[in-house]
């Protein structure tokens, strides 16, 4: 018998992981109980600040890691879980700066006598930017339920249409993955020992997947409508914006500004030799 035949197939695993986000978000911690709008806004500011660093400002961007690290620690979300779940997107984000070293060969700094080109510096800076932004987004999703997040967006006067779209997309991605899981399983049961799906079956496979997902999405939406759904988010339990939420936001943003304009690394004592 083939090894691992009883294990979940890849799609089922992906599905389980997606749903686990809901479970992570349902946990309790000081970060989880913060107001979703406070977390959302802080995350957005964090991402903007991170992206605003100059592409050669490696020493500036490194300390930005402090915030996600702090948040991981307080929320009790596992950093390994984060990287594990992001393993598919991570390489894509990392690849963005991959060609910089070839275009930008001018030596910028030397560390221990070895010259490092501007391309390498900007590549690393870009990679870090990508990784930090992903970490921050992951933290937001792992500590906030999608429905609370949507409720917060509505409170911030984001149009109901957009918010519904976001919420439904989140549900439909689940539906589509589920259909894909069922179909790949059915396929492999009838094509034992075959790796992947044979190219001759791709067309009908994709077509079926789309039709089935659409059918299910339709029924799901009906089921929501039948229970009085009108783009309102009565069901998300979101608390009032309290002093500690404001404090959290203000504290974090101040921290970001310090990291951005205070150049902490240089204050600490010049980790990089120019």
């Amino acid at each position: 018998m083939k090894k691992g035949i009883y294990r979940m197939n890849k799609m089922q695993k992906a599905l389980a992981e997606l749903s686990e986000m809901d479970e992570l978000a349902a946990r309790r911690s000081p970060v989880h109980t913060l107001h979703p709008a406070a977390k959302l806004l802080t995350t957005i500011v964090y991402i903007l600040v991170t992206l605003s660093f100059d592409k050669y400002d490696l020493s500036g961007i490194v300390p930005m890691v402090l915030w996600p690290v702090l948040m991981f620690t307080i929320s009790g979300v596992n950093v390994r879980t984060c990287f594990y779940k992001l393993r598919i997107v991570l390489p894509l984000v990392m690849a963005v700066g991959l060609f910089n070293p070839f275009f930008d060969k001018e030596i910028m700094v030397s560390i221990g006598g070895i010259g490092v080109s501007g391309g390498v510096i900007s590549m690393i800076t870009l990679m870090l930017k990508g990784v930090f932004c992903l970490m921050a987004s992951f933290l937001l999703m792992a500590t906030t339920k999608i429905d609370s997040l949507c409720a917060a967006l509505r409170k911030l006067h984001v149009p109901a249409m957009l918010v519904s779209l976001l919420q439904l997309t989140y549900r439909y991605v689940g539906v589509m993955t589920e259909e894909l899981a069922v179909m790949t399983e059915a396929y492999h049961l009838r094509a034992p020992g075959q790796k992947g799906i044979h190219i001759s079956a791709w067309g009908s496979f994709l077509g079926q997947l789309l039709l089935r997902s659409m059918d299910r999405a339709q029924e799901l939406f009906s089921s929501m409508m039948l229970r009085g759904y009108h783009e309102h988010f009565h069901y998300a339990d979101i608390d009032r914006f309290r002093a500690r939420d404001a404090l959290f936001m203000a504290g974090c943003i101040l921290f970001f500004v310090l990291l951005r304009y205070g150049n902490i690394a240089q204050l600490i004592g010049g980790l990089v030799v120019y």
Binding site: L15, A26, E178, R216, E219, L226, Y235
Partner: protein, 237 residues
């Protein structure tokens, strides 16, 4: 309470699946909807809920089902879908159960009390905080039924409520349905369940009403049932 007046329906042009259908269900009645696969049972339910629109008139409590009245109509109806995967869309059973009632403007306390009552009635307390993607098909079905009961609708429509249930849960659902005072319309191939829960049966065949009468009469008519790809319920054999 529920009325079909000369309803015709086609999914695709020229392929009518319901032909000039008329029937009336009074308040408080329990009606079983039976018929072979593809007879048109689910289609009838969807027309009642306004999920599909055909020719003729569909009336709920004297109000015609049309775009402008959908909100009012749907507040009166609870529908247990044939496929529970599409019914349960929130992360947990509890969140699914409060979704409907909160949408209809009930307060959190009232809803929480209702949820606990319904769960206790169905012996489902253990499901309350379970994740929908981590429960079995039958448990999900029970969750879906609980979800609808928590809405306390005036009429309940169920499409195959006992499929996927083990004998214990099937019996539990049957007993629960029997205790419900609401108007009920139940589509199923489980004729023993229909016999246990319904006083009246409407038999659909090829998009027409082939028989409509007391459950005991129709469900003991061997020729009629066999002509429609069904068998006598065990209790009648």
């Amino acid at each position: 309470m529920i009325e079909f007046r000369n309803v015709k329906f086609e999914y695709e042009k020229g392929k009518e699946v319901l032909h000039d259908m008329s029937f009336r269900i009074e308040k408080g009645e329990s009606v079983g909807l039976i018929g072979a696969n593809g007879a048109g049972k689910s289609t009838i339910m969807k027309l009642l809920l306004g999920l599909l629109q055909g020719e003729g008139k569909v009336l709920i409590d004297g109000t015609e089902v049309k775009k402008e009245t959908l909100g009012e109509i749907r507040a009166k109806l609870g529908f247990v879908l044939q496929n529970s995967d599409n019914q349960m869309f929130m992360p947990t059973v509890y969140e699914d159960m409060i979704f409907g009632p909160l949408n209809y403007g009930l307060s959190r306390e009232v809803v929480d009390k209702r949820v606990d009552e319904v769960l206790a009635r169905l012996n489902l307390e253990y499901l309350k905080h379970r994740y929908n993607h981590k429960i079995s098909g039958g448990e999900k079905r029970m969750g879906a039924i609980a979800t609808i009961l928590a809405m306390e609708p005036a009429a309940i429509l169920m499409d195959e409520p006992t499929s996927a249930l083990d004998p214990y849960n099937r019996r539990l659902v049957i007993n629960t349905i029997r205790e419900l005072e609401q108007t009920k319309l139940i589509a199923s191939h489980d004729l023993d369940m229909i016999l246990d829960t319904c006083d009246r049966v409407i038999l659909i065949s090829g998009g027409r009403i082939a028989a409509d009468g007391p459950a005991r009469e129709i469900l003991s008519n061997k020729e009629l049932l066999e002509a429609n790809r069904m068998e006598l319920p065990l209790r009648m054999q």
